[in-house]
Structure formats: C-alpha cells, structure tokens
Symmetry: C2
Subunit: 706 residues, 2 copies
C-alpha cells in the first residue's frame, strides 16, 4: 500500500465525513478521543496512564505521505520501504541505485542526508470549533462564509506558530462538525540508515500488492538529526522480545489519509458516476503511458519506476473502492442507513428544523460540482498540478510570490504561515535530480489530456499549446526552462513578484497563463462545493450525534489516529488463510511463479537461504482498521512495544474507504522478528538490530521504558 499523498490529485476533491458508531474492531480514533470504551468492553483492556502520550510522541508523520515511528533513543525512525522509496529514488543515480540495491550505513558518518523530507511529531491537540464556527455568521453568502473560514483558520495557525514555535494546522473533522488545532514538532534533517533492495521490499510487485498471503520486507530506516546530531528522543517505541501470536490484541498508531465512510448517498453517487470514472480513467492512462516510457530503455525504467508504482498502487486501491461503489447491494445498505437517520430527524420537530435540509445542501453541492468538475480536474484541481516536477516548481514560484504580497490571513492556506512557506521551499529548493525526459513525458501527457477532456478548440487549450502538438510543446517547455537549476529557482523566489513578472521562462509563463483561470475554478469549488458541504455535513453530523450518540470517530484526515484489533486469519473463497507467513513460504512462492520478475528472489536472499530460520514469521494480518497513509505505522502490543510494521491492507480492505467489514478487512504487517532476522543474517546489519532491540545498551528489550 502506497502512502496517501501519492494518490492522484482527485484525492483533493473528496473529503471525509462522519462515520457511523463503531462496531467490531472498526475505527481510526483521534488521540483526544480514544476508543477506551470499546477496548474495555471487547478486550477488557484499560489504557494505562501515559500510554497514549508515549505512543503519540513516538510516532511521526512523513511528508512524502506515510507514517513512521521512533524506535531508538537516538531518533531512529522505522517506516516502509515504499514510504522511503521516494527518497531512495531521489538519492540515486544511474551509477548508485539505492532502490535496486538497497543501502546500509554501518556508521553514523555513512548515514546519507535526504534532500527534501519532513517528519512531524504530534505534540498537542486543541479544540477550536467554537472560534471557527463563530467566524461564520447568519446571512453570509457562500463566498463570505468561505472567506471568513479561511481567514480565521489562517489566523489561528499563525498565532499558534508564533506562540509555540510548533508547526500548526487546523484540521476539519466530521467534514465541518468540529475543528481541531494540531501542533507538531517538525524535523527536516533526516538521514537514510538502511533500506533493503526493492526486490524483497516489494516482492510480488503489482500482482501481489493488496493480496495475502504475502512475503515482503517492506521496511526502511531513517534517523532524525537536529543541529547536525541525532536527536535524543524523549519518547520512542521499544521492541517486543517475542513478536505477537494468533489472537493477540494489537494497536496501530498512524496517519490514515482519507476515508469517506458516511458520505451521503448523493455524495457516494457522485463518486460512483463522476469522480471515479474520471480518476480511474486518468490512472489507467498514466499507467500505460509510463509503462511505454519505461519500455524504451533501462535508464527510463529507473527514473520513472517510482512514479509508475505510485500510479499502479492508486489504481489498484481505487479499483477496490470503485467496486464497492458499483455494487448495488452496498449502495442499498447505505441508502437504508441514511433513510433511517433521516426518518429519526424528521420525527423530531426541533431536529427537523435544524438539520433536515443538510442532505439536500450536500446534494446541491454535488450538482454544482458537476457543472465544472471536468474542467477543474483537467488543470489538476485548485493546486494546479499538471504533472512533472518542473511545472510544480513554476506554479509555486508564481503563486508564492503573489501570495507573499498579501496580508497573511488573506492568503491561500498553503502559503499563509512561516512554516507553510518553509514546507513549500523544502520542495521548491530541493537538490533532488529532475530528469528532463520524464518531465517531457509527464507534461506532454497532461497537455494531451487537456485536449481529451476539453476538446482542442477550447480557448485555454489553444493558448496553452501555442500552435504546437502536445509532445512538441512539452519538449519546448522543458528544453527552454532554466528551472532545473536550484540557483535559478532561488533567484526568482528572492526576486519576488517583479522577478516573476519579468521572467521569460516558458514554464513560468505557462503557470502565469493558467493561474487566473485555475484560481477562479478553485474559488468556485470552495464556495459552491466546499462551503455547501461544510454547511450540510455539519448538520448531518449533528443529527448523527443526536441519533446515534457521540461515540463516533471522524473520517480519516492524515492526522494521528489509533486503530486496534486482533491478529487473525480469514476465509476467502472457502480457503482458510492463516494469519502468519514465513521465510519458507517466500521461497516456495517464488518457485511457483518460476522465479520471474516480480517474483524473483534477490541474489542476497538466495545466498542467505541456508542461514535463515525458515520458520521465522514474515508477514501477518490483523483486524486493525487502516487505510492508505497508515503505511509505515508500527503495530504495537498492549505494552506499547513494536511487534510489526504495517505496509498494506488485503484486497477486501480496499473498500475500507467507504465501509469496514471485520470478517474480511485485514491490515498486513511485516513481523518484527523477520526484520531482526533479516538484518542479522542477510544484511550484516547487526548493529542496527542491536540498536532497535536495545541489545547495544544492555537494556531489556521487553521493558517498556516508561
């Protein structure tokens, strides 16, 4: 499972909403609203004092779109290979390919600095619902509401950052039901410590992705530095001595990216008939185009493979959700639930007056969206993402210099605070390599898409192409730009609006050309869709709280949540699938698939076969309720010790975006024992294993250290 931020830009359009009262092992619970009651009643487990804070402060959110955890006092961070892969790719060249060959720093001096990653640790949560809701007053138009909400949110963020020095973010929960201010410690000096080769981290490739049984060592280790030295971590997770066993209660603290479980039926139908047909179409298209590009040479394959797997992963994930949306029986259940809730509201005159029109407001939002949705999508949504890194940089230069000229509270949120600007600059000034051939391919694809979706006589399309065919135009843009040079990007950023206005750079010109129309589309989206949805969902959420009780988790928002569940197999097509696989199964699986890519055992693993204990548990499944963005989350036991590393869900869990089924939904993890066994016997990385298990410090790996 790939991290949430790597999904297509369509993800921007569909936000989350109020889930139903959790039953079974369901739910991704905020740390200020933990599932204490459920744990007590289902498992007889009382959350110990300090447990939540300790786990919370041991977890990291990773800017490339995944989760991780600190697993040593010296700031060692464990995450997935597929979360770290983006960095590995950026740090590789045709000569040293960390993705293909892996990496291990035997000493601190060898730890390799990442070009543009950020790791955030959640430090506090504060409820700011009243202040945000208070800024919107009766009689405001949709546009005024939107402005008021943006302004107050920008103000809260800026005040918080000034007061605490912590990165701050106002998070919309229950899609408008509540607003929480999240504050994070922010780290950007992050170094690569260890990564296995992609051949074992992603063994089975796309065919095995989201499948089970599974055999992947999908792990990667970084270290957080500050002032040139590893941090001394006040909180970090200890390593369980004996892993976990069938039936154990386990927890997953991590950052699920997005769920849409209680979207109204109208909203789901919009997804089914408008959003998914378009986003699937885009993903299928990109997958084939990238495969074609990669087929042309070995180097093309290397430079594009990371993007390619991202697209394949999103495609497979969305296929599962789409299948749920297109299932009439699933939709009938959603309709029936909604009708029950609406009937309960209608039966109470006070409720009816307050909330009954919530559903229709959402319906109006989706109807309004239909009118300009394809156009909005064509230009990459409000973020104006056309594909390719160079255009993204041109866009940020144009927008950032524009926005900086305004008072902070009136800016687009992504440029409104000091930290927001630092985040933009982290990517904008990144020294990571950019490959012109891939840039041409990406841009050419998007220019062609404009014609496909809007027709080639559309005035904007005509202007953008400037009389050239898409590929020819993309070539002209990429060959003509100077934005490949970090110094040039810095020069333009420092020169501000006047430097941008004066620039003849063809990509800057293109971003300037498109920006007014895309900003207008974004405004229209925020007012006609976003504001309506916040109005409508606030009512639906209130109704749901009133009817079903307050004990409901909000849909996922790529903020820290706690899931829980049991290590447990399942039955598929009448076959019992046990919870654990082992190393012996890896070699067997490869043989069944003729040891051919992507089922080829990497050389190191062929050599190490005799040394490895074949019975070592390799991957396991649990009922924990997770979703994209949870990639890299630790799996911990009741003592808060690491027993595994989340890296995927099974195919039946994909529909988890819109619903959870405990019978079949499973989270897939690397077993903690496999990681240690591989470090010691395959990678000659005993020092790393010692650091993780605490063996190097003579400490007991089973003490919980708190």
């Amino acid at each position: 499972m790939k991290s949430i931020l790597l999904t297509s830009c369509a993800a921007l359009f569909a936000l989350s909403f109020v889930p139903s009262t959790a039953s079974a092992d369901e739910g991704m619970w905020p740390f200020n609203k933990p599932p204490a009651k459920q744990l007590k009643s289902r498992y007889g487990f009382d959350i110990p004092d300090g447990w939540l804070e300790h786990v919370q402060k041991s977890c990291v959110r990773i800017s490339s779109g995944g989760s991780g955890s600190i697993v040593s006092p010296n700031g060692l961070v464990m995450t997935n290979h597929h979360v770290g892969r983006d960095m590995l790719h950026k740090m590789s060249t045709a000569d040293h390919d960390f993705v293909k060959n892996g990496f291990y720093a035997k000493t601190g001096a060898e730890e390799w600095k990442c070009p543009d990653i950020k790791m955030n640790v959640l430090w506090s949560i504060e409820d700011v619902t009243d202040r945000v809701k208070g800024a919107v007053t009766t009689g405001m138009s949709l546009a005024q509401e939107n402005d008021a909400r943006k302004k107050v949110t920008n103000e809260i963020t800026a005040e918080s950052e000034k007061a605490t020095g912590l990165e701050s973010q106002v998070v919309t929960l229950y899609q408008g039901g509540k607003y929480n201010l999240y504050r994070f410690k922010r780290y950007t000096d992050v170094r690569l410590v260890m990564a296995p080769e992609a051949g074992i981290a992603f063994f089975g490739g796309d065919p095995d992705n989201f499948e089970y049984p599974r055999f992947d060592l999908d792990m990667c280790f970084f270290r957080i530095y500050e002032d040139g030295k590893p941090i001394h971590a006040e909180h970090y997770l200890h390593w369980a001595r004996n892993g976990c066993a069938d039936g154990d209660l386990v927890f997953v603290p991590g950052h699920p990216g997005r769920t849409e479980r209680l979207n109204t039926v109208d909203h789901l139908e919009f997804m089914r008939d408008e959003e998914y047909p378009l986003s699937m179409r885009s993903l299928w298209r990109r997958e084939v185009q990238l495969a074609t590009f990669m087929g042309r040479s070995t180097e093309n394959r290397r430079v594009a493979e990371d993007d390619f797997f991202g697209v394949q992963n999103s495609r497979k994930a969305r296929t599962g959700i789409f299948a749920g949306l297109q299932d009439p029986a699933f939709m009938a259940r959603k309709k029936s639930d909604e009708q029950k809730l609406r009937a309960a509201v209608d039966a109470n005159p006070e409720w009816k007056k307050q909330w009954a029109d919530g559903w229709d407001t959402i319906k109006q939002a989706k109807e309004a969206q239909k009118e300009f949705w394809v156009r909005y999508y064509t230009f990459g949504g409000g973020g104006m993402a056309l594909g390719g890194q160079l255009f993204a940089k041109a866009k940020d230069l144009v927008r950032m210099t524009d926005e900086k000229a305004k008072p902070a509270q009136d800016r687009l949120p992504e440029y409104s605070s000091d930290t927001a600007l630092k985040n933009i600059e982290l990517a904008l000034f990144s020294p990571a390599p950019i490959y012109p051939a891939l840039e041409i391919e990406a841009l050419s694809s998007r220019l062609q898409l404009m014609g496909e979706l809007l027709g080639c006589d559309d005035p904007t399309v005509v202007k953008v192409l400037g009389g050239k065919a898409p590929h020819e135009r993309a070539e002209e843009l990429v060959r003509g730009t100077k934005l490949l040079d970090v110094a040039e990007r810095k020069r333009l950023a420092e020169g501000g609006k006047s430097a941008i206005d004066a620039s003849q750079d063809p990509l800057i010109s293109l971003a300037r050309l498109l920006d007014p129309e895309v900003r207008a589309l974004r405004k229209r989206y925020e007012e006609e869709v976003g504001s309506r949805e916040q109005q409508g969902y606030a009512k639906v959420a209130a109704a749901s709280f009133a009817v079903n009780g307050e004990d409901q988790y909000p849909d996922a928002t790529f903020t820290l949540r706690l899931s829980y569940g049991t290590v447990k197999g399942y039955t598929q097509d009448a076959v019992d699938i046990p919870p654990f696989t082992n190393f012996a199964g890896l070699y067997k699986h490869a043989e069944e698939r003729e040891n051919k890519d992507p089922f080829e055992i990497p050389p190191r693993w062929k050599e190490a076969r005799e040394k490895l204990n074949p019975n070592t548990p390799f991957n396991f499944v649990s009922t924990c309720d997770i979703i994209g963005g949870n990639s890299g989350s630790p799996v911990v036991n009741k003592a808060g010790e690491v027993v595994g590393l989340i890296f995927d869900g099974n195919i039946q869990s994909l529909v988890g975006d819109i619903g959870y089924d405990e019978k079949l939904n499973r989270a897939v993890s690397v077993d903690s024992r496999a990681m240690i066994e591989a470090m010691r016997k395959v990678y000659d990385a005993g020092a790393l294993a010692d650091e993780i298990t605490g063996a190097d410090k003579g400490g007991s790996s089973t003490s919980n250290g708190r």
Copy 2:
C-alpha cells in the same frame, strides 16, 4: 503491426473517404484502378500484361484481419506470425503452446487443422454504382434511403452468390462516391505448416512495435486445403533469388483495413475531440485490466496474452493517429486544403448548386452522432460487442435466428446471404477453447464500463446488472451459461427463434435484453449518421473529382490494393537510419537491453548463432504506403517475386490513417533471405524452404512462372 480487425470496436464508427490526388509514393490502389501513370512517370515502369491478375489471384485476405499470399503451387500461404497468432493461440493448451514454442509440420500429415479461419482470394470486381445509387430516389427520408441502400446491396450480394457461387460483397468506395461488387474464392480448410516461437516473431514486444531498426521474424505459414487435399494453385508468387537492394522499386499487394485521409475537417474534429478520447480511454483501460489479470498466474498470462497484445497494438497505433489529430499544424493544413476545394466549388455556380452543401451535411451527421455516441459505444456499437467470446456467440444466436425469419433482402447485412451465414457459423460453432476465467474478466470489465459511461442508475445498466456488482454478475453469467458447449450452440441455432425465445441461458437472456435497444441505436446511427455521410461524401467526392481530377485512390476498405515504393532508409532526430538490419544486429540489440524480456534471445536462436550468417538481411523498410490490415502482405519486385513480408510500419507511418508523408512514412518487412536462412539453420525446415524457393521441383526460383 496488428491486423485491422483486431483493433477496438471503435473502428466500426469511422469509415473511409476520398483521398487527395496521390503524390509521391502515396496510395493504396484498387486492382481495377492501378497507379499505372505514377509508375510510368516516377519509375518508368509499365505494368506487364497479366501481372495484375497474377498478383491479385496469388493474394489472400484472412478472416482474422490480415493479408497473405500463396507462395507455392500447393497452396502454401505466407503471412505474419501476428496474423496467424490468433490461430496458434486457439490451437494451444497449457501443455502444448504453439505461441510460445512455435510449430513445424515436417510432413503433410502433421499439418494441423485450424479451428475457424477463412482465406479469401479476390476473383473479380464489378462496378455497381449506378444500381446502388439508383435505388435511392429524390424525396426519400434518411430512413428510407438507408433501407433502400441496404435492400439493393443485399439483393446484389445474393444474386451474385447464386449466379457464381463466389462469396460476394458490395464495397462502398469514396465513402459513397462509388460502389463495387467484389467476388472471392473462399477457403476454410486451412492448416498450420510452420510458425517460429513468439520470442523471435515479436522480439522487442510492445517497446519495439512500430519502431525501426527492427529485428523480427514475423512470419507464419499455412496451407489451403480443399476436399482434404492441398489445393493446386493456378496462381502463386515465386521467390526472388536475391532479395532486394537499397533503391529498388517494390510493390505491396494487400488489404489495408481503413484510412480516413480526406475526412472533412468537421469529421476530423469529431475524431479528435469525441472518438479518440473515448477509444484511447477504452484501450488504456483494457491494457491495464488485462495486464492485471495476466499477472495473477502463468496460465492467465497464456490465455490472455493474445488479447493483450491486440490491445497494446491498437493503443500504440491509435496513439500515433491521435497525435496527428491533436497537432494544430496538421489540422491547419487540412483546413487549408478543404477551404481551397470549397472555394473552387463555390466559384462555379453549377458545382455550387450540386455539391456545396456536402460539407455541412457531414457536419450535421457528426453533430447528430454526438447526441448518442457514448451510449452507442457503450454497448459495443451496432454489432453489440461486449467483449468476451461467449457473449458474442449469444448475440449471434439471438440475432441470427431473428434475422433468418425475415426475407433475405431485409436482414442485417451480416446475416443476409448464405455465405454471410456461413461466416457467422464458422465462428459460432468453432471448437476453439474458451477460457471461463478470461470470459469473466472481459464481461466484468464491460459491465463496469456501462456504469462508468452511463452512470449506475441508468435503467439499462440497472437491468443488466440485476442487483449484482459487475464482477459478481459476470461470474454468474459465465458460470451459468451452457454456451461453452459447441453442441448446445448448434442445438439453439437449429432450434431457431422458438428455441432462443424459450432459452433460460443467462447469456442468451442478456443478449435478448439488450438487443432491442442496440438495434434501435444502430438504426439511428445508420440513418442519422451513415446516410448523411453517404450523401455528404458523395458530393464532396464528386467535387474533388471535378476539381482535382479522377486519378484518386479511395480510402482503404480491407479490400485488395496495390501500393508501391522504394527500398529506402530515412532520417530521424538527425540520425540516418539505413534500410536494412541483419542478424548480427539482433544479437547486439538483445545485449543492449540486458537480454531481458521482451528482448530475450530465444534458446533456439542462441544455439544457432554460430551457424547463421550474421550479415543476412533481416528486416527492411520501404516507402510503400500501407496501414493495419496490410500485415502479412508480400513485398514483390517488378517481376512479381517475393522479396519480403510486410509486418509493420514505423512510428511515423501511424498518422498514415489520416495523411501520408514520404519523407518519414515507412513500411517494415521481413527480408525474404532471413526467412530462408532461418528455416534452414534454426528450424531444420529445409523442405519448407525448398518448397518456397522451388528448389524441390527443380524449377528456377527466378523464373516468374507466368
């Protein structure tokens, strides 16, 4: 290059039309209108008496969608591996895989009967323009015109078949400018003689498809039988002793499937903004879905690979055409040409009166098409092709029994004559294996597509799904049908309409359910689009003849045409590409791509390397104007002797659907010398080489035998 019939069903919608006066080596000339003047003026070549008839009667049109030629007195037919591949696939099982391993029948007894192929030899052409046009009279509505044209066409066909016993077809040329009756000798007892392994026939796979330089032995040999014995061929092509050389004049007689070179600008814009965005979308989608299916197991790969390569091939071909359509400069040239022709018409009062409204009539046709185009496409066009073989059989059973109950002249043309019915039955009662897993995949994909294109609340979609999710419904249909059994298909066909009406078979029921709506859409298409186009293009064609002269070839119609040109390299990105490759280049190309699939040298070719003459010419290019459907066409010299075998065009030739550029357009062939060298040194097929070169009969391989 894959055969034309294997392209997506969208190919049904865009028919061909009046090309411009040929310049350069342009043109696909009917055998009753050969390019005699051009050959004389450009090459000083007079077509000898009898040459055309001899070549014509040596050529075959293959029902799986390609071309071929008879190359021995005993009915040996040469074509491409990728044309024969469909048969190879149908004759294979998991245990004997002719596609993967190749095949060679050392004796006649070992020649392996094909399940459902047909080879036609063109016997005569007759102009029936007056009779067809005469059936349409002034004052008829579009519907009446359509009926009248269908009726007279059915009558001509039936009369001709009755009178001559030859398969007969009325071909629309210049998209309504002329009508010709083509008569064919029809052969259905065809046996496989020799095929190399796919690894060398399709070396380089999709990355090298439509590229040059190239290294493919894309050949396959069949033999035509009649009454249980090989035919004695009155006409067959002899083998040139010394191949061809740079600068030689060569000819390609074959069956180009479709071109659209003088579509009006409105028509091209429809293709660009409506047709291609939808057909590309479908192809990208299928490519990913089939790749996913194949990834699941080795057997899945085997059963789906033929479909998969067909989709990839169409996708790559259409990518080239689409790039041309989206090129503003290309469209500007089309606009300018059209404006000139229209200005010439407007300048002559008589012409203006007769033809000036032709272009607007076509515009109206395309505007009408826009209204129901997506829906028509969703159900697979007028042929109701939903994907999968089983549904196709159900459709033919339902329609055939319906149509047979009507007088022949009122039927849908594909069921109107005895031969037409025989053609339907050839496929319907084919013993070729059908794989349920692949059928479920194909049908499930199409059911999902209905939701994507029409929305899941569409009443037809709701009925078709019957409350089930697409995959679940496809599974129910395929598991529940008895149509896998040939005897059951025969039973239903023999039982006629009453048996079909009484059938409870779920696929028969589905075809019955959809048929009325799809027939109505087909009628609407024929009347509002087809009839209008025939009206409009008849005028545009007449105008073009009057202004530009009669010396114009009609657009391709998958009927026999003659192309001509020069063996000649070209320049791409400032690199000179010589016309010939050789065996040494094959091994070098494989090494550059790390000998990895699809660039892996097959074992037989590794073993034979030392025996082969490395300088043997392998593939070559010429300026001959060809297109999909020409696959398998012989390349002959002035003496009419085989020097090569067409199997592809270069990437620059793809736009050939809508325009020809002699500077870059190239046809790609297997060199005749490579075929003989490989037969003798790789395949131990000396007897076959002897038969082809005439060595076994002591004849001179250079005599032209006429």
